[in-house]
Structures are given as structure tokens and as C-alpha cells.
Symmetry: C2
Subunit: 189 residues, 2 copies
DNA sequence: TCCATCGATGAGACCGTGTCTCATCACCGT
DNA sequence: ACGGTGATGAGACACGGTCTCATCGATGGA
């Protein structure tokens, strides 16, 4: 793996973020992204299925980590404890580089519906994965859906605050968000 | 408004649903859809912004109705009561034709990620709209987010059951789903 | 040292989506 | 009849995304 100049994939991610931010997503062509990374269009599509995906490269990992963390929780854990375990486990994915990219990614994604759409899809995938784990553990349909919603909401709120440089660790922020959301949920009338 | 053969837009919707179901979404071209509707590719794109949109033609109306219904609720209504009012008001959108198309649409959308993605986006839009109304009415950030999630979840579950031919009226089904979800939410631990 | 292999890349043809411009045609009011 | 208006058709165009074939660079073995 990785001959010639290594890290082609990473170079493509960086080139995409930079160009989409500099010139706008629409007015940037895939060929331009590839060129900035020292590659060609064909190679871009060998690393990513489409023009939007480099911006969301880390997300499948997040889904996997959330699911793994949830599956690793003790058998007698309540749904909310399972979600907490999932959030804690996901902490592993959050490197310094991810934190730096966070705000820039949010800004770029916010500029174009096509990107918002992909973000919504990834989020729905996350929610679905988490809900499936909860159902497998015996939670009711409705309970699984709500707990998953709260977990993913906390996941994103925590990440946003963390990548804005707030708080000590991501894990603490996410847990705090989850507590807040849970309190609001039980108080709902 | 509608000269020549009237209802060009509706004919396009029907042609799209039929062809996407018959031949698959991928292997159907926009030109084919337009041709079945007795039109051309250029006219298709005058009625819809892209190939996916005819399948989701009714959804903006749903968002508007939910928002209107929520805004019409009495000033002292609780978040959940606001959501209930929104669901009741949305009932207006559900014609017999919508019910017939429901299962077919679900089936087609389920066959292709590109369509699932659009569905997730529409749903996120719905949730965002509802949450915004709730925040404007003074609900807290977290409360608005959760109430909106429950509302949209109930909206979709209700619609699925209703379009499967279940239950008396859509309004009753959606209210029932909302009650179930609310019960699960308050019982969450 | 040389060579065969294998995986990553480049080159370029190709189809479909989505945009745009210009011409056409049907309806409408006068 | 006649001109205006708005929906449509025709066709060129750029770009996204797929595919095939050729190339090249590193590796491992004789």
C-alpha cells in the first residue's frame, strides 16, 4: 500500500476541503481537486465514490465506533447507559486533526444543499445503526428510536463544542449534552 | 397555468414513480420519464430541480403544514401540545392519492441510496422547521430538538401505517404514535 | 542483477445529469 | 386578425461518474 507519494487519500481530503472553502463547492471541479493533490480525476474516484465524500471521510468510522461501544456495554445496562458507553467509545476517533477540521468542515457543508443532504444521510445512518443495536439488546421500538436520537444529537453537539475548542475532553462534553437532552426528554409534556 | 395537455407536473410524477419502480431508478433516464409524460428532458427540469425530486413532490407542503399548525396552537400550549396541533393540521395534506402512492414510494426510495439520502434530507428539514417554531415559542434548545424529533418520528410512523391501510384516520394514528413515543421518552433511563 | 508480478496511477472514451439559449407554438385579450 | 405571454422543444454545453487499457514503480525471487 502507498507507493509513489504516499497518503493520496489524505491529500485528496485536504485538497477538497481547501478548494471547496476557497472557491466554493459548486465552482470547484473534481479535476481541480485531483490536480491540487497531484493526481487525476480517475484516481479521485478510486478513493471516493463521489465529489462530496472526502468531506465525510471520517464518518463511517464514527458509526462503527458508536456501534462497537454500544455492543460492548454490560448486558444489564439501560438504553441510556448503552448510549453513554457508545459516546465514550467514539472518543477514540477524535484526533487533533479532526478537531482542527471541524469548524472548517461545518462552514463548507453549510454552504451547499448537496452537502447538507449528505450530512443528513450520514446522521440518519448513525441513528439507524445505534437504534438497531438497542433493539437487538431488547429495547422497545420506540425506546430504541428515542435513545438513538438523543445519542446522536449529543454526539454532534459534543463534537461541535469540542471542535470549537471548548471543554476539556470530548467525552465529557458529549456526556453533558446527553444529560441535558435526557432531562429535557423526561420533562417533556 | 396549464395549457396544452394540463397537469404536466402530475404526469411527470406518475411517470417517474412508474418507471423507477418498473426498471429501477438507476437504469431509468430523465429523458425516459419525460417521454412517458409526453414531454422532453428540458421540460422535466422546468418542473423539478433534479431526477429525485418528483418522488418527494409533496414534502414541502408537509413542512409548511406542520409549521402552520404549530404556529396556530394557543400561546400557552406545551411543546407536546404544539406538536400535536402540528400533526393534526398536517392531516389536510393526506389525500387518497397520497395514500395509494405511499407504499410504492417507500419501496422505490428504499432501493437506492441516492433516494434514501434525499428522504433523510427532507426529514431533517421537517425536524429543523418544527424545532425552530418551538424555539420561537420559548421552548429551550434541547426541549425543542427532542419535541421536534418525536413529532417527525410520529409523523412518519403514522403516515406509514395510514398508507398501509391501517386505522381510521391519519390524525388518530399519528397521535397514537406520539403518545407511544412520549411514554418511551419519559420512561427513558 | 535482472526479470516477472502486482497494485496504484494516467489517459481518454463514454453516458447521463443538469444548465442554458433560442426558436416555436398555443392561448389570450384587444 | 394580431400581438403578447408563457409553456414547450431542440440542441449545445460542462461536469460528474464509469469503464477500459496502457503505464510505471516497487517488490520478490532466480
Amino acid at each position: 500500500m502507498a507507493r509513489w507519494e504516499p497518503d493520496a487519500r489524505l491529500r485528496l481530503v485536504r485538497a477538497a476541503i481547501d478548494l471547496y472553502a476557497e472557491q466554493g463547492y459548486e465552482s470547484t471541479t473534481v479535476a481541480q481537486v485531483a490536480e491540487r493533490a497531484g493526481l487525476t480525476k480517475a484516481t479521485f474516484f478510486r478513493h471516493f465514490p463521489d465529489k462530496r465524500e472526502p468531506l465525510f471521510a471520517g464518518q463511517e468510522e464514527h458509526a462503527a465506533l458508536l456501534a462497537d461501544g454500544a455492543a460492548l456495554a454490560p448486558d444489564d445496562a439501560s438504553p441510556l447507559e448503552v448510549v453513554t458507553a457508545a459516546l465514550d467509545h467514539a472518543t477514540a476517533a477524535f484526533t487533533a486533526e479532526q478537531r482542527d477540521w471541524g469548524p472548517r468542515l461545518r462552514a463548507v457543508v453549510g454552504t451547499h444543499d448537496e452537502l447538507r443532504e449528505r450530512a443528513a444521510f450520514k446522521r440518519a445512518h448513525l441513528t439507524g445503526t445505534l437504534a438497531a443495536v438497542l433493539r437487538d439488546r431488547g429495547a422497545g421500538e420506540a425506546t430504541a428510536a428515542i435513545a438513538a436520537d438523543l445519542g446522536v444529537e449529543a454526539f454532534h453537539r459534543g463534537f461541535d463544542r469540542w471542535s470549537d475548542g471548548e471543554g476539556p475532553s470530548y467525552g465529557d462534553l458529549a456526556r453533558e449534552e446527553l444529560r441535558t437532552l435526557h432531562a429535557a426528554a423526561t420533562a417533556l409534556r
